[in-house]
Amino acid sequence: MAAGLEASPEQRRRVRRSALLWALIAAAFYVAFIVMAVVRGTK
């Protein structure tokens, strides 16, 4: 295996953590705008 393709456990953790973080942020935007519309509709 080529040396450069090996990832340290720390790098793997960082990749996984930041991917999850950005996925959560995307999901939050999705839900937030629907919630905003629901709240506005029930006023």
Binding site: A2, G4, A7, R12, W22, A23, A28, F29, F33, G41
Partner: protein, 535 residues
């Protein structure tokens, strides 16, 4: 990174690559996935362009010639959806896939399996979207903006449209996550953020925009779906909903989307102009901050698309002034590109020609954007061909020429061969001439009062419509040179060394041409970075 290891374990021992269909369907290699994105984008460009040719054919003469109004509206709607989501965005993602790891000294994208998924969602999304032409009621005809209540009248195509938009959005979000994670975690040691090439910077900012706004579009179309099928009334006035709220939500997505389409072009032009001026980019850091400023401002200007809908005077003033403010960082960019060329040793190969045309013609689109930002003037221009001329100047000689500049710049690197420069110049000059014949008269038509999205028009608009249509046919035919040039390059191009262009800097030019299947398997040394990372 687990995916990288798996890929490496199976394939990297002797740098061999899988063959046949498995190489593409199961691919986790950033170059192969980049190639698939680019081929897909090219295919969609010709399908969307075909729809544009049919639109111009219908508009060649007043009266209804070939299509009924429903079909005409389907063509305009599908042309926009295909070009935006099928051609431009996948082209940028393809370029990102190819170039970001090469430019950062990374062995691959951070999440290669996610990368595979992001791509393979797209053929399904567009098969679904294009198949709406064959369902009862025809393809969506309510415009790419999907405003209710009109879009709720779509026939059997409605859920297909919504699902296709969801799929495109999911693909974009996954691609954006991959880009951010790659840039933030996979840079070779020694490549700090402010040593990254401008293309990587503009893509990083684009990816942030994508993550912020694609879910908003998904939320909006989900609400359309529930309004249509599940009895909700988010946007239905009869049930207490508000159709105007859809427009606010849509344009909160829609305006940053414009910058999603154009920011990577800024990055490409920032790579190409220094190379062919044989000078470093003028004001690198200012370019980074200007890009970030444009991205920030793109979130607070959305309602300039809706001035005629009605809003308080304070809101009109706010959105007018915030829109005009975008001219400042954009002006910084145009100034810096011009200053880069100042006293440079210029040469005019196809990438530089496309970049220069971008500079002039995108600026024309920017100026007409400033005119549209003026509230009382916008009341006059709204829904006329002036708007069509404006955004096509931004998106065709802006975005499309930016993509062309990028492909012509890096094609020798990808194939290891130099293409036919004369044919490239023919492609450029025909495109540059006909794009103006196509879109400039649309300013006159709009100012004279011709409404957009109509298959028929008053006879006084005939002459400029004919000129515009002739320009359209010429532009469309000129694009056929592009696949011919690429085919010729692959088949019989002249082999090149690492560096295709004399003035090129960047880590990608330190690799052989074409780069090996697995590149940067060991991070570049400090000396290579120092040589490659000059801006």
């Amino acid at each position: 990174m687990a995916e990288v290891l798996t890929n490496a374990e199976s394939h990297d021992e002797h740098d061999h690559k899988p063959h046949g269909w498995r190489r593409w369907v199961y691919s986790t290699n950033h170059k192969d996935i980049g190639t698939m994105y680019l081929v897909f984008a090219c295919l969609m460009f010709f399908i969307g362009g075909g729809a544009a040719m049919l639109i111009r054919l219908e508009l060649f003469s007043p009266g209804l010639q070939f299509f009924d109004p429903q079909m005409f509206n389907s063509l305009t709607t599908m042309h926009a959806l295909i070009m935006i989501f099928g051609a431009i965005m996948p082209a940028w993602t393809g370029l990102a896939n190819w170039m970001i790891p090469l430019q950062l000294g990374a062995p691959d994208m951070a999440l290669p399996r996610l990368n595979n998924l992001s791509f393979w969602i797209l053929p399904f999304a567009f098969t679904l979207l294009l198949s709406t032409f064959f369902v009862p009621g025809g393809a969506p005809a309510g415009g790419w903006t999907m405003y209710p209540p009109l879009i709720l009248q779509t026939g059997a195509a409605f859920p297909m449209l919504i699902f296709a938009v969801h799929l495109m959005g999911a693909s974009s979000i996954l691609g954006a996550i991959n880009v951010i994670v790659t840039i933030m975690n996979m840079r070779a040691p020694g490549i700090s953020l402010l040593r990254m090439p401008l293309f990587v910077w503009t893509w990083l900012i684009t990816a942030y925009l994508l993550i912020a706004v694609m879910p908003v579009l998904a939320g909006a179309v989900t609400m359309l779906l529930t309004d249509h099928f599940f009895g909700t009334t988010f946007f239905t006035a009869a049930g207490g909903g508000d159709p105007v709220m859809f427009q606010h939500i849509f344009w909160f997505f829609g305006h940053p989307e414009v910058y999603i389409l154009i920011l990577p072009a800024f990055g490409i032009v920032s790579e190409v102009i220094p190379t062919f001026s044989r000078k470093p980019l003028f004001g690198y850091e200012a370019m980074v901050y200007a890009t970030a400023s444009i991205a920030f401002l793109s979130f607070i200007v959305w309602a300039h698309h809706m001035f005629t809908v009605g809003m308080p005077l304070a809101a009109q003033l706010f959105f007018m002034l915030s829109t005009m403010l975008i001219a400042v960082p954009t002006g910084v960019k145009v100034f810096n590109w011009t200053a880069t060329m100042w006293k440079g040793s210029l040469s005019f190969e196809p990438p530089m020609l496309f970049a220069l045309a971008f500079l002039f013609l995108f600026t024309i689109g920017g100026f007409s954007g400033l005119m549209l930002a003026i509230v009382p003037a916008d009341y006059q221009y709204q829904d006329t061909y002036f708007v069509v001329a404006h955004f096509h100047y931004v998106l065709v000689p802006g975005t499309i020429f930016g993509i062309m500049a990028g492909v012509y710049y890096w094609l020798p690197k990808w194939t290891g061969k130099m293409y036919d420069l004369t044919l490239g110049k023919w492609h450029f000059w025909l495109s540059a001439i006909f794009v103006n014949v196509l879109f400039f008269p649309q300013h006159f038509l709009g100012l004279a009062g011709m409404p957009r999205r109509i298959p028929d028009y008053a006879v006084q608009f005939t002459d400029w419509n004919r000129v515009s249509s002739i320009g359209g046919f010429g532009f469309g035919l000129a694009q056929l040179l592009f696949p011919i040039l690429i085919w010729k390059c692959i088949r019989s191009g002249v082999p090149i060394g690492n560096r295709a262009w004399e003035g090129a800097h960047g880590l990608e030019w330190e690799l052989p041409s074409p780069p090996p299947f697995h590149s940067w398997t060991t991070p570049p040394s400090d000396a290579v970075i120092a040589r490659g990372a000059e801006h």
